[in-house]
Symmetry: C2
Subunit: 590 residues, 2 copies
Amino acid sequence: MAQLRIALAQVDPTVGDLQGNADLVVAWSRRAAEAGAHLAVFPEMALTGYPVEDLVLRKSFVDASIETLEVTARRLRDEGLGELAVVVGYVDRRSDVRHRVGQPSGAPLDAAALLYGGQVVVRTAKHHLPNYGVFDEYRYFIRGDRLPVVRLHGVDVAIAVCEDLWQDGGPVSVTREAGAALLVVPNASPYERFKDDVRLELCARRAREAGATLAYVNMVGGQDELIFDGDSLIVDASGELLARAPAFVEDLLVTDLDLPEAASPFTPAQTSADAHDGTVMTIDRHLVSAEPLPPYEPVEPPRAEPLDDCAEVYGALVLGVRDYVRKNGFESVILGLSGGVDSALVATIAADAIGAGNVHAVLMPSRYSSDHSITDAEELVKRQGINARTVPIRDIVEAYEADLDLHGLAEENLQARIRGNILMGLSNQHGHLVLTTGNKSELATGYSTLYGDSAGGFGPIKDVPKTLVFELCEWRNGQAGSSPRPIPQNIIDKPPSAELRPGQRDTDSLPEYEVLDALLDDYVEKDLGHDALIEAGHDADLVDRVIRMVDRAEYKRRQYPPGPKISPKNFGRDRRLPITNAWREPSARR
Amino acid sequence: MAQLRIALAQVDPTVGDLQGNADLVVAWSRRAAEAGAHLAVFPEMALTGYPVEDLVLRKSFVDASIETLEVTARRLRDEGLGELAVVVGYVDRRSDVRHRVGQPSGAPLDAAALLYGGQVVVRTAKHHLPNYGVFDEYRYFIRGDRLPVVRLHGVDVAIAVCEDLWQDGGPVSVTREAGAALLVVPNASPYERFKDDVRLELCARRAREAGATLAYVNMVGGQDELIFDGDSLIVDASGELLARAPAFVEDLLVTDLDLPEAASPFTPAQTSADAHDGTVMTIDRHLVSAEPLPPYEPVEPPRAEPLDDCAEVYGALVLGVRDYVRKNGFESVILGLSGGVDSALVATIAADAIGAGNVHAVLMPSRYSSDHSITDAEELVKRQGINARTVPIRDIVEAYEADLDLHGLAEENLQARIRGNILMGLSNQHGHLVLTTGNKSELATGYSTLYGDSAGGFGPIKDVPKTLVFELCEWRNGQAGSSPRPIPQNIIDKPPSAELRPGQRDTDSLPEYEVLDALLDDYVEKDLGHDALIEAGHDADLVDRVIRMVDRAEYKRRQYPPGPKISPKNFGRDRRLPITNAWREPSARR
């Protein structure tokens, strides 16, 4: 057996900020070296950030990624870190493929490289490209067809990338054929509730299939809508968990491994292997150092406990807000505080994310606002120490109504839109990011006003069903310990109301949220049709009603309206860039 | 040689409206039979509409598509149309594949079938799945691997679907091996400027490769942002154009073909063939009728002339507006008429699309509006006979300013947002669809107000650069003949201004549009990077400035504000439904 100390660098890069991400790689490589590690592994596309979307179709961007990789290799050596083997994700290209219709322009690769001694020792690329859920990688990448195996201190180390773990066949299968002792896997795997359990089980299964210890390093941080949760881990060849990093924070997971020494003397070789997925891959062998390390005293591996559901979701939301604000260059946020539970939760998340002093609440009472709305909101402001001002909207409503005869829903919407205008005006004037306070149940059913309460730059709870909003408020209050509970109990206990007409209640328009959310989960997340919903136990009339609401609300879930496409790249439809995007075209950086 | 009269039914289905689309197939099959046709061909997914996006992941939807196909086959026979062979696109599924991670749920197929004598004679599915530009078919479909060849009146007819023409190898290549005389290809191929030339050249090339006459039938109509332009055509085996349908209108293209008679007696067979794209396909032979038709007198095939550029773009925009309004159940539209060129063009397109009487303009002068803005807008209203009212915004601005201290950009945006509120209020009250009037140059550079001029349900010119806006106005005026020109010349001639502060001009913030649009075309459509833009002759400072503007404006082009994803299906990110969507879950239709 041969020893090896591995350090998984669970870092938070920014999409497009190649220089900043390279700095991150160097800084965390130094931490790894200081911890005595021999091998440091960074996440998928750590140098470019993930996902880069249409940036990858631009030659200048891919050029810069490749150059940054090579500069980083030299810089690691120049800064005394040349003896540490560093695996890092970046974007590369295939130069040997002929262009054909529909192939991503420039033939980009979702690549990873091993850096050592100032050199790029080996380059590889993701073999299995995900194109489902949040992934659109057939739009952006060509598949890789090599498995690099690098002998490091007498141990054969193979490298695969993210989705290569999720699919049968390919790099995992070839790792066994190659006889590698360790499979390291850079990932950019977004958070989803309950995914952590799936991930551990998957890593254990693939480790057994590969017959190798498996080191899974995941990105952490928020990027537009995606939250990378970290949760990096290492399992041995029998699938036993050896070490695990905490979720939602940057972390260096340092673990000592005891691995089978490579049996045969090293010979450089490129051999073909059936990947058992209908393709043939090339095993690409490289040497860094043939001799095992002299024996040393191993350290105890850390093993973070998984979080419970509310802690996990709340952690994701706080990280999402913090990174969206920071990575887009804002310092403060503004939101409408209605005295209801949604805006109370958003204010609390924002205060936890960026500090109460950077949160600005606006109370905008109308003729229909109840007294408790104002006093409850004021009480929350006092408890959390956020900034607040009051702007009554009655006179503005009357100015519109002098010229326009609006009734019913049109009048209700007008109030919400005036509030949206006030928040956007203050945002434009003072530079705060507007947070919207709508939840997923509202968004799904269209129970919101287009350009009203849906107006803003970021919606912290847009993917959170209303029932979970209540749970999160209770959970957060329960974390307060001996400090005052941040959210006044009356805000949680009173019946939800939009207060856009006298005595209005959410239940005038919607079923009870417990009933609604269960139905939405089956319809939206599970794609059940009408009959299947009824079979699942939902009330037939309600199923009809909710399906109609959800289908009709689709147009509200778009911001810039659609329009006829006449060109190759219509915004939104077929030109997609990250919002959080620090990429500056080479000379624009000067 | 054997004769065959083919009818290409270039129809306009509605996404999700299976019953209505089936009615369309029956009605146009009747027209084809009345014209003496032996074979009618409908577009790709004519029964479901295209693209159906996430609807296809729902079992109830795929069930309904398959059932509608079978019912339609029987109905054609019952209505006396059983002797007409009908090829029609629909959605089917593979039932013999094992589920794996990332495979579209339910294994849907982008399918086509041939109906005859009340039966579904053969079913096939698209082999090449496009996943670029507007297409995301790896998310939604499994690839087909069969080439059906049906002997009809002694002629072997093969069927391929849309993208199968655009890729090398696959069905076109196997058609030659199968010795088919005619290849019919249902398409849903969206319009793009100048694409008609590419399409003819492609069809000619593939006909030569297949060694067969090729009948290309394309969908027509608007679906959300996509415009299907029709332009169906037939080329012979040498690539010569035989017949061509007009663009942007429904049409039945009837043509007599003189085709090689099948050489060998028919035997049902399923044989394997190398598809020359790395896959193996099955040739699937079926018999409808072995005997050639008795000789008859052929009709002269129609051959529509291609449109010039402005006619083509204008036709696409008018069709896009008409279908979006109609398919979403609106009868009228409302828009702000500023006296500028953008809103003038949008009003004119709308009047051409749905009639001047259904167009409602609102003039909303502020303290900064010039006299000519109002008189020019009034002149346009008078010439076109659209409805108009005036709502001055000065008092509403003052009501906001009583409580808020807004200056500069914040004050400019406030005016645009008040106008947005007024239009949305009138829309909510009276049921008009709000049209936005922003063009692509503004949208690209962010020269617009979020929730202000960008507020609305449909943006007719959102993909039209400003220079083309001017061209289209001149072109449309030139079509007026002896009638008055619809757009007053002063609207076209005066320098563009948003009139949100005294004496404002677009050129205060933007370069001249000729310069800007050329640069945007290279940056947005062609993805050139900074240095490549300068190499292409653009001014270096301007390149820096425009790149920054375009990159920063990405957030304005988004739909519902982004927020952290925690569930399998976050709206927008990984749950995508058509806006125009007539699908009703089975019992919701009752």
